[in-house]
């Protein structure tokens, strides 16, 4: 029983990581209708910026918010410079541009900061605490809390603010939105900015756990895709919950199902993507996409 609970707790901790990146993926999908393969590397790069500031002696929270601001502007700039020229191109073109962005950001980070992993501080206490025989990492819990907070903020933003509604409208029906006076181009750029910001939060929460290096996000991104697919690409809450489900499932399956073991954990995540796409393409909580043809 103890091992079961400990595995669940540890699964929730890693699931929180997946969820936070999935949230950024969903954010950009909702705001721009694009699946951004460079999301992980953007988050990694933002985290390096935070690391540089912390190293220069900037206090944690100042560096945190400064990074969010820089990430926002960076995301905006990427949309304006790189994505806008291919805005109306086929989906495949945008995917390839995103993958190009992924490779570029990864290499530039390696060139600037080297490939040696670096410790990244956590704003939460370092000491784990113990309830009964179960250990809880203070940072794991804190990071999960931050992810949930971001989720609530996003929900309120997209649901109750004019800007949020305008952004959603611009992504879903650009033509009608433009007729209503919404500046669609800028809404898409804002979408990239906000997604970069959400990604930066995720990066700074993940780095204390997996340590900071240019390839930090490569594995996580796959799990984040599984989470977002499972929860539904149109549902922020679903994405976070999807992350937790993926995290716990892979731990329990890895521990209790003999033939899967630790060797096929990644396969479990990929199988989840496949099954969801076959059975319920919109995910557990997503809206079924309806397009007029």
């Amino acid at each position: 029983m103890e091992i079961f609970v400990q595995q669940v707790v540890s699964g929730l901790a890693t699931g929180g990581i997946y969820g936070s990146v999935a949230l950024a993926l969903v954010m950009i999908y909702q705001a721009t209708d694009v699946v951004n393969f460079a999301q992980g590397e953007m988050a990694m790069f933002s985290t390096y910026l935070a690391w540089s500031m912390l190293n220069a002696g900037v206090p944690y929270w100042a560096a945190f918010f400064a990074t969010l601001a820089v990430a926002f502007v960076g995301g905006l700039a990427i949309e304006r410079v790189v994505i806008r020229p291919v805005e109306n191109a086929p989906v495949l073109t945008i995917v390839i541009v995103c993958i190009g962005l992924l490779v570029i950001l990864n290499s530039v980070a390696g060139w600037l900061y080297s490939y040696i992993q670096k410790p990244f501080p956590s704003p939460f206490p370092a000491k784990p605490f113990k309830i009964g025989d179960i250990f809880f990492g203070a940072h794991d819990l804190g990071a999960l809390g931050v992810t949930l907070l971001v989720l609530v903020v996003l929900y309120v933003f997209f649901r109750y603010t004019t800007l949020g509604l305008a952004m959603r409208a611009a992504a879903q029906n650009p033509v009608s939105s433009r007729l209503c006076g919404i500046r669609v181009g800028w809404m898409l750029a804002l979408g990239w900015g906000f997604a970069a910001l959400v990604g930066a939060v995720a990066g700074m929460m993940i780095a204390p756990i997996v340590f900071l290096d240019p390839n930090m996000m490569s594995g996580i991104l796959i799990y984040a895709f599984a989470s977002a697919t499972l929860g539904g690409f149109t549902s922020p809450g679903g994405a976070v919950l999807g992350g937790l489900i993926v995290g716990v499932t892979e731990n329990l399956v890895g521990t209790y199902v003999r033939f899967i073991g630790t060797e096929l954990k990644l396969t479990v995540a990929l199988a989840m993507i496949l099954i969801v796409l076959l059975v319920r393409p919109s995910g557990l909580f997503g809206r079924v996409a309806v397009h007029r043809v």
């Binding site: 400990q6 540890s10 890693t14 080297s114 040696i116 113990k130 250990f135 997996v210 594995g219």
Partner: protein, 404 residues
């Protein structure tokens, strides 16, 4: 008719010089009176680019050698290409080096899968494939692959050392293993099991693997703790070693922790994981760790720092790969000096297989490079060390896998 003659003439024109130059070049390709051309591949891009610094530091060392007059009057022309750690690309690059650039030999190509891809080709072409940068066991097989030679102690050798230590010092050992699910991880596990012998089945209570793509290894550590293991054999690359040390500490698991040499760097692994959590770790070493304070006043280390500053200022002086590359470059320079005037491929191979008790400045005191026509494992010695919270304290005798 006229046309045929023209073609024939053209053919002679093109092939003529080749036919004349052919035999002369075949004697010792890549060697001129003033230069020797050496080929190499390294991952300067892609997922394994952390290793790329090895290629760069070797190039920097050869620059230093050239500045100081070269070897027996010849300068080294080091041609190093990026293979991105991708085996098909390695094949392409190495063929280019051999067939187009006409290098004298290939040196320090990096990676187990990448070297496997060019293993047969270089042996068929009879091009020396020297001091490959991988710890797999298969590089020391002079009978079947007389043109290939390894360099560092093999992963299996290191596994033997830990097994002997456990058998001697831990009564009632219960061993839990965490390993990377590939050739590197499996070689380490095999080494341990081989040396444990029949006892292996009884002593090993749980084996857990991870994939390089896994974000964390928390789940595996929880299982290992739960297995009741009192010895933790940690076969992980730095990224996961940091996590493993920290997580084991965080969940209150305090086994005898054997950390593989791959991740023994004080600054890269132990400091990020926490010095307190890293206390009492045991590893096997053969190189001096540049971040270990005990070598601060070591003459070899000081020379290395001066070299780094002058020839590779952008390189990281905390990175053990830069010590590794510097040392292997020195090993090659020794071989080339020993070759004297005869730099034919045969003689390079003969001299590489004839290194006797070579001590290099950044090898641990007492560890020496030795090869012979039947021994293609240059470094076979390692010494155990325990981390005292600040530095690796060497203890026990130097273990020699060559003396068995």
């Amino acid at each position: 008719m006229k046309r045929t003659r023209l073609v024939a003439l053209a053919l002679v024109g093109v092939l003529g010089p080749l036919l004349v130059a052919g035999p002369a070049a075949a004697q010792s390709p890549g060697v001129t009176p003033t230069e020797i051309k050496i080929g190499n591949t390294n991952p300067y891009s892609g997922p394994a680019s952390a290793y790329g610094t090895i290629g760069k530091v070797i190039a920097a060392y050869f620059k230093k050698v050239n500045d100081e007059g070269g070897i027996n009057g010849r300068k080294i022309d080091f041609v190093t290409l990026d293979d991105g750690y991708s085996p098909p690309k390695t094949v392409e690059m190495v063929r280019r080096l051999v067939e187009q650039d006409q290098v004298a030999f290939v040196f320090q190509t990096l990676g187990t899968p990448t070297n496997s891809a060019i293993h047969k080709y270089l042996n068929q072409a009879k091009v020396p494939h020297l001091f490959v940068a991988t710890g797999a066991t298969k590089w020391g097989d002079p009978q079947h692959f007389p043109w290939t030679m390894g360099w560092q102690p093999t992963y299996q050798t290191e596994g033997h050392i830990y097994a002997q230590y456990v058998l001697k010092n831990v009564p009632n050992a219960k061993i839990g293993i965490l390993y990377q699910n590939d050739d590197y991880g499996k070689d380490y596990v095999k080494g341990l099991k081989d040396a444990l012998g029949d006892a292996a089945k009884k002593l090993i209570v749980l084996e857990q693997s991870y994939e390089v793509t896994d974000p964390t290894i928390d789940s595996q550590i929880v299982n290992l703790k739960n297995s009741g293991a009192n010895v933790f054999y940690n076969v992980t690359i730095p990224k996961f070693a940091v996590q493993a040390i920290k997580k084991a500490h965080d969940i209150g698991w305090k086994p005898l922790h054997l950390l593989n040499n791959v991740s023994a760097s004080v600054d890269v692994v132990l400091k990020p994981a926490g010095l307190e959590a890293s206390k009492d770790l045991i590893t096997a070493l053969y190189l001096k760790d540049p971040t270990d304070p005990q070598w601060r006043n070591d003459a070899g280390m000081k020379d290395w720092l001066v070299f780094m500053q002058k020839y590779y200022p952008e390189g990281n002086t905390k990175d053990a790969f830069n010590v590794y590359g510097y040392t292997v470059a020195q090993g090659l320079v020794h071989v080339l000096k020993q070759c004297g005037k005869d730099l034919s491929r045969e003689n390079v191979m003969r001299q590489a297989a004839n290194i006797k008790d070579l001590a290099l400045p950044l090898l641990l005191p007492g560890i020496k490079v030795n090869t012979s026509p039947t021994d293609f494992y240059p470094i076979e010695q390692e010494q155990l060390a325990k981390f005292d919270g600040e530095r690796w304290a060497l203890f026990g005798e130097i273990y020699d896998a060559g003396k068995k």
